[in-house]
Symmetry: C2
Subunit: 242 residues, 2 copies
């Protein structure tokens, strides 16, 4: 009954690409849904840009996006250091969602905000955690009755990461005030910076160092501050990126 499997390989052709608020990997939340203010569109490529391919999909609220971590090295490693373990304990690559995995396949559950089929096919995605330019290889509807097992146990990642308090400097508030997208941009910044995008071993540490995250067309500069027992994160400036 157990046939020796062939060592066949398979070719993946992207069906489309993501256009998103995330210019770089750095700062992207570790899971989808953690920054609902992040806007993204999935634009289908020919020959998949046919409105027929998504007929009926608008009746589903959520979709699975399978994609390729195109910015990650092709080299994989058996062990990785997940940020949820503080970045200093190693687990197997298949016990993680690390990008350093064989086949570089990613999987994201995102809310489907709408479908535009006027020119080709564009899916509006809410809470998407994909970097701009990410190649997408599949879309599947989410089936709650098949995919929400009650009493599932989630190992070392049993709950969402804590959201840190984010404050804006006077400079940052001035810079925000000049933007037409000030409301959505400030929500996005708060959600993304609040995840503390620094390497996990820095979490909980204050520092003088200023970090930068690129969102939309801006560089968001932030700095960790010690506030009694707690770390807060201050957005010190929001600069148009060069």
């Amino acid at each position: 009954m157990h046939h020796a499997p062939s060592s066949e390989s398979f070719t993946l052709t992207p069906i489309g690409y993501v256009v998103s608020d995330y210019a770089d990997k750095f700062g992207v939340p570790r899971q989808p849904g953690l920054a609902p203010a992040a806007n993204a569109e999935l634009i289908l490529s020919p020959p998949y840009d046919d409105p027929l391919v998504v007929r009926g999909l608008d009746a589903f609220s959520h979709v699975w996006i399978s994609f390729v971590f195109h910015q990650s090295p092709e080299r994989w490693s058996p062990l990785v250091r997940p940020p949820r373990l503080g970045g200093n304990r190693k687990v197997g690559v298949f016990a993680s969602r690390s990008t350093h995995r064989p086949n570089r396949l990613g999987l994201s559950l995102v809310e489907l905000g709408g479908i535009d089929t006027h020119q080709g096919v564009r899916l509006k995605l809410s809470g998407c955690d994909l970097v701009n330019g990410t190649p997408v290889v599949d879309i599947k509807p989410y089936l709650p009755w098949a995919e929400s097992p009650p009493n599932a146990q989630a190992g070392f990642a049993p709950a969402p990461p804590e959201q840190l308090t984010v404050q804006f400097s006077a400079t940052a508030l001035d810079q925000l005030a000049q933007r037409a997208d000030r409301d959505s941009l400030s929500a996005l910044i708060e959600q993304v910076i609040g995840q503390d995008p620094r390497p996990a071993y820095r979490h909980g540490q204050a520092s003088e160092r200023v970090y930068g995250v690129r969102l939309r067309d801006v560089d968001v500069k932030f700095c960790p501050r010690q506030n009694g027992e707690a770390t807060t994160l201050e957005v010190v400036a929001i600069d148009i990126s060069g």
Copy 2:
């Protein structure tokens, strides 16, 4: 911000293969979890058969398996007829989980029954819906807090399919009684046949025709019966498959 994407393609190398009770596509439940009595193992292939790759995975109760529908034709179609719509209404391929999709990628959430690392790496999977020999390209831990959105809407497939009543003929009961695996095999047969594996447009119809499903090393022959208003399915024989 929107770079014209390259038309790059990517190569998938299987990380392992499934050994399962399902010898053929015909009869396999439409989603995982519908036949919990189905046994399966995922056997990792070199160089992925290193116990390190699954370190920590045993703390998760469920895993996502990404695989290739290797028995499906490479040709995809924009529209498909999902069985949940009776097989006579068409929806877009990305609004379905049809196998006739670009890249032939499948995705299954299965319960992790255990991990054996004595010789290579074997994952015991419960409720798995994968055909024997399926090439697997990724394993990811299931994160309930990220992947069970409350109030998700499931379009034309809002609930699990109905389970039909399954009865065994005297012949089938005799054949079962001779098997060492009689208990698990009868549970498996009941769960699989109860999904009514016939083409969707036949559902609800009685017929004289005998259908066959291959499970483990047997051919399960069944026949739809009319029982007042309801259709029931009778297992008429359980033959060792040739």
